[in-house]
């Protein structure tokens, strides 16, 4: 047999191909064995900004229970849709971080599994547990409660305002033309105006024993129309305290420049205000009526996937580990939002800023997570923006109510 250089090469190449192929399969099966031996892996999707805060807890859990916890940092804006799409394919995570207002959507899509908080339910802030419950079943382990409050420039106005009019008067006494700013936009921003609406006794939905009742729309009651009239009087053709041209950045700039002394916003903006050298104090939302102005509370937490093959470990990790004071405090330090666990919330409240938000949060109501809320958001802001810009308040509000009612019963 005549062996030349080229056929040798060909044989060599065949060997290379085969080796690479074999190497590929051996690594493949090797990884799987390793994971199984270590007692499984929990994949957790986490808001990219909180990966570091959770890493220590995850490592400690792996150490203690022998369950690998793999944290995957994700962009907060993508988590919900990715979770809904990927869970049914079996490629989703075991646990994801999220917010309570996703609950309606997640549960309608059947991608979340119930969680049993058991006796520990009493250890959480009531608003956090309420928000984690959907149609009577708890689906979320809460870790933080977030709500808006009034940031006051204490150098300009040293004392908290007692009512909405008092706030404006105090600001004007300090020489400011428009002392109060709140984020709006061409399509309004009902989330930020909700405290004023509740002060007039007009919540969005009534409640029953399972939570918010989509069949009981309270938005358009007499209080709602009163609120609309008040809003119109504070708008473009009135005092001008509300302006749809003021968006988040403009509001922030006004507060940082000292042209506004009161800023109705959330904890996410406190850092910017303090960095801007403002002496910030946190006040409750000054009410335009005798009733308390209750903002929405947004509760952040963790969900277990309905398709998780590791439900026992997932539940154990969440309820018995993330639900402890140490871990809740660590997450608090990463985001500076009030912890959902009462004990941790108390510790965190040693900071006056957090204490201020917690005081407002005590009056907050969970933002409805029921799917009907989607129909409300669709029309709510544009109606409020219309009223601020001079549309007839009562007629606009009545049209809002009938549009929402029609969309819900569709």
């Amino acid at each position: 047999m005549r062996v030349n250089k080229k056929s040798l090469l060909a044989v060599g190449a065949a060997a290379v191909v085969a080796t690479l192929g074999l190497a590929a399969c051996s690594t493949g099966s090797g990884e799987a064995d390793e994971a199984a031996a270590a007692g499984g892996t929990l994949t957790v999707w986490v808001d990219a900004e909180r990966v570091d805060a959770l890493q220590a807890a995850a490592d400690a859990y792996s150490e203690e229970k022998g369950v690998e916890v793999e944290l995957v940092g994700k962009d907060n804006a993508d988590i919900k849709d990715d979770f809904i799409q990927q869970v049914p394919t079996g490629k989703g995570p075991d646990i994801t971080m999220g917010a309570h207002d996703w609950l309606g959507e997640l549960s309608t899509n059947g991608v979340v599994a119930p969680i049993e908080l058991g006796d520990s339910a009493a250890d959480y802030l009531p608003v956090a547990v309420d928000a984690s419950t959907y149609e009577g079943t708890t689906y979320m382990l809460p870790y933080a409660v977030e709500n808006i409050a009034v940031l006051r420039n204490a150098d300009l106005v040293p004392e908290a305002a007692t009512s909405f009019d008092d706030m404006v008067a105090k600001g004007q006494a300090a020489g400011l033309a428009h002392p109060f700013v709140v984020e709006q936009g061409a399509e309004g921003n009902p989330y930020h105006l909700y405290p004023f609406q509740t002060a007039f006794g007009a919540p969005v939905f009534g409640t029953n024993d399972e939570g918010y009742d989509p069949t009981d729309l309270q938005l358009g009651n007499a209080g709602g129309e009163e609120f609309a009239s008040w809003l119109g009087a504070q708008g473009k053709n009135g005092t001008g305290n509300f302006n749809t041209d003021i968006d988040g950045d403009i509001a922030k700039q006004a507060f940082l420049d000292g042209t506004a002394a009161f800023w109705l916003t959330g904890p996410w903006n406190v850092g910017a205000a303090i960095d801007g050298g403002i002496n910030v104090a946190i006040d409750t939302v000054p009410s335009p009526t005798a009733e308390a102005a209750q903002p929405f509370a947004g509760v952040k937490g963790f969900f277990v996937s309905s398709e998780s093959e590791n439900k026992v470990a997932a539940n154990d990790f969440l309820v018995n580990y993330i639900g402890t004071e140490d871990v809740q405090l660590e997450l608090f330090e990463a985001g500076n939002i009030l912890p959902a666990l009462s004990a941790a919330a108390e510790t965190a409240s040693s900071d006056p800023i957090i204490e201020g938000f917690a005081a407002v949060g005590a009056e907050a109501v969970p933002m409805p997570a029921i799917p009907a809320m989607g129909s409300v958001w669709e029309y709510w802001g544009i109606a409020q923006a219309g009223v601020i810009n001079g549309a007839d308040p009562v007629a606009t509000w009545q049209k809002l109510t009938s549009d929402v009612q029609a969309a819900i019963s569709k």
Binding site: K6, A10, T137, N310, A313
Partner: protein, 542 residues
């Protein structure tokens, strides 16, 4: 591997010139390599080896995950690729294969999948399979018995059957399995909780994790009466008493609500539905034929806005193409004039808007056009209050202005190239014949220009017809039309309106969105085909 290797190794181009330039040498090297040098052969083998390794790995992973079809496709493609590159004759295929594979993966698959989704009810509430819907419904139907305590639980095993060793709040231990209701027993206690019992093996946490599937299913009846509920353990250490309020009858395909007695059955709509039309969600994904297309054109909420949104979409696309083209052309002619100084600098300045990502510029424009605080009103117009983005008509004008700013550099570049390719002697000849500049432009240059540019104008029309970025970032379709029953605005294009219809609020309707995108594709394709036919006549000019 019996394949023989190409024999023609003689370099073809080396040594033809006495002193080859650098480029010639480079070309010679490439030609050498292409004709099958030993190094090239080795490289080819190594590259194919890597590809095969990846393919083998992928097949193992896919088979492991039970994806037989995809595994088969990967295998067939890998074999085909090897066959093509080891063959001596398949030269055209060697060039085409990589492109075709990428085309199939990134284009054909996406288009076919969108087409498929358009015929399903995929969306909120119809997200997965029926099996998943059933297990999700059953899981959420479990309700904890009111005022029932937390039980300490230890998972135990007897001859492969799992049981729960339950400690009630009084410290009494009892054991049971799925078949056998709880019976009181004497157990070894540790810290007030029963941890072990004779005849049973206590599972460690690692064992519990390893048998998660069985434990998730494990429900130990509290007593002989099923209405007392069953104990389940979500985390392997605490147990709770649950009652289920749904019952699934697999044979009949029905769900029964045990508290009201309502029967929900599978009536082929992708969800369990009661006699009076109430649906239990989640449902599951099914194919629905042309339902989505019918809904897309008959939706009563859309009837009124659809007309003006369609008209505005056409107006937006046509005006955008025309304005960007003529501005680009004008500037190209101006900057093509040899008498102008600093042309290179101006040209670079002109292309800048094209270099900035369009959504970024759209956001900046949105800020500049703010009525009370924007740069344009405050600084440029000295405190005017022009409602750039909030008045229905002004918003349309603003969108067109911004799109002009974003789009003209592209047309400028294209026209510049096309103008430079028109020979100067044509212009000279026309001037000698006594033609005026405008006539030269209109009768000679423009037609010649259109030969090359017309297809690009059609492409630009198709692009602007679906110009989601600019609208979404600049106005988000606003100002809102308060009279419309859906949240549509005066600057919404078809594509942004579809986005709002399919994805507003908390519902995602992927089926409907896919159907719309197919309809929009058909509109654009028909217009493009007609336009291409007409521009063919231009080609006869050359």
């Amino acid at each position: 591997m019996t394949t023989t290797v190409d024999e023609e190794v003689t370099p073809e181009t080396s040594g033809t010139a006495p002193k080859p330039t650098k480029r010639q040498r480079q070309a010679a090297r490439i030609a050498d390599a292409a004709s099958g040098g030993v190094k090239m052969l080795l490289f080819k083998l190594l590259a194919l080896g890597i590809i095969d390794a990846i393919a083998v790995f992928a097949v193992f992973v896919l088979v492991g995950a039970g994806q037989w079809l995809v595994a088969a496709i990967v295998g067939v493609v890998a074999v085909a690729v090897n066959w093509i590159y080891f063959s001596r004759r398949k030269l055209p295929a060697k060039y085409l294969t990589p492109g075709v594979i990428f085309l199939v993966v990134f284009q054909v698959f996406v288009v076919v999948y969108t087409g498929y989704i358009a015929f399903t009810n995929y969306g909120t509430g119809h997200n997965g399979s029926q099996e998943q819907a059933v297990s999700s419904l059953m899981a959420s139907s479990l309700e904890r018995v009111p005022d029932s305590p937390t039980y300490g639980v230890t998972v135990v095993d007897q001859f492969g059957t799992l049981g729960l060793l339950v400690t009630d709040p009084d410290g009494q231990a009892s054991v049971g399995t799925t078949e056998q209701p709880l019976t009181e027993v004497d157990a070894d206690m540790e810290g007030g909780k029963a941890v072990a019992i004779d005849g049973w093996t206590t599972l460690s946490f690692a064992d519990v994790i390893a048998r998660t599937d069985e434990i998730t299913e494990l429900a130990v009846p509290f007593s002989d009466d099923p209405n007392d509920g069953a104990i389940r353990t979500p985390d392997g250490s605490s147990g709770y008493l649950y009652l289920s309020n749904l019952e699934y009858d697999e044979a009949a395909g029905t769900m029964t609500d045990l508290s009201t007695g309502t029967v929900y059955s599978d009536i082929g709509t992708g969800a369990f539905t009661s006699a009076d039309g109430d649906e239990l969600l989640p449902g599951w994904q099914i194919t629905v034929g042309f339902d989505n297309f019918v809904r897309a054109v008959t939706d009563p909420r859309l009837a009124q806005p659809l007309v003006y949104v369609t008209l505005w979409t056409f107006a937006f696309a046509l005006i955008s193409v025309a304005s960007t083209f003529f501005l680009g052309l004008f500037l190209a002619i101006v900057f093509n004039d040899m008498r102008m100084r600093g042309r290179k600098f101006y040209r670079i300045m002109m292309i800048l808007p094209y270099a900035i990502p369009s959504f970024l510029s759209a956001l900046i424009w949105a800020g500049m056009m703010n009525e009370s605080f924007g740069f344009i009103n405050q600084v440029l117009l000295g405190g005017a209050s022009i409602p750039w983005l909030t008045d229905p008509l002004m918003a349309k004008v603003s969108v067109l202005i911004v799109n002009l700013w974003l789009g003209f550099p592209y047309m400028f570049l294209v026209c510049m190239g096309a103008l430079q390719s028109i020979p100067d002697d044509i212009q000279e000849a026309a001037t000698v014949d006594g033609a005026k500049p405008w006539a030269i432009f209109r009768l000679i240059k423009l037609p010649l220009l259109l030969v090359t540019v017309a297809p690009l104008l059609i492409a630009s029309f198709a692009f602007n017809f679906n110009n989601f970025n600019v609208i979404y970032m600049l106005t988000d379709g606003g100002p809102r039309d308060a009279n419309a029953p859906i949240p549509v605005g005066f600057t919404d294009l078809l594509i942004t309106m579809v986005y709002k219809v399919a994805f507003t609020g908390q519902s995602r309707d992927y089926g409907l969105a896919s159907a719309y995108s197919i309809i929009i594709f058909i509109i654009v394709a028909v217009i493009s085909i007609i336009a291409f036919r007409r521009t063919k006549s231009l080609e006869e000019l050359n």
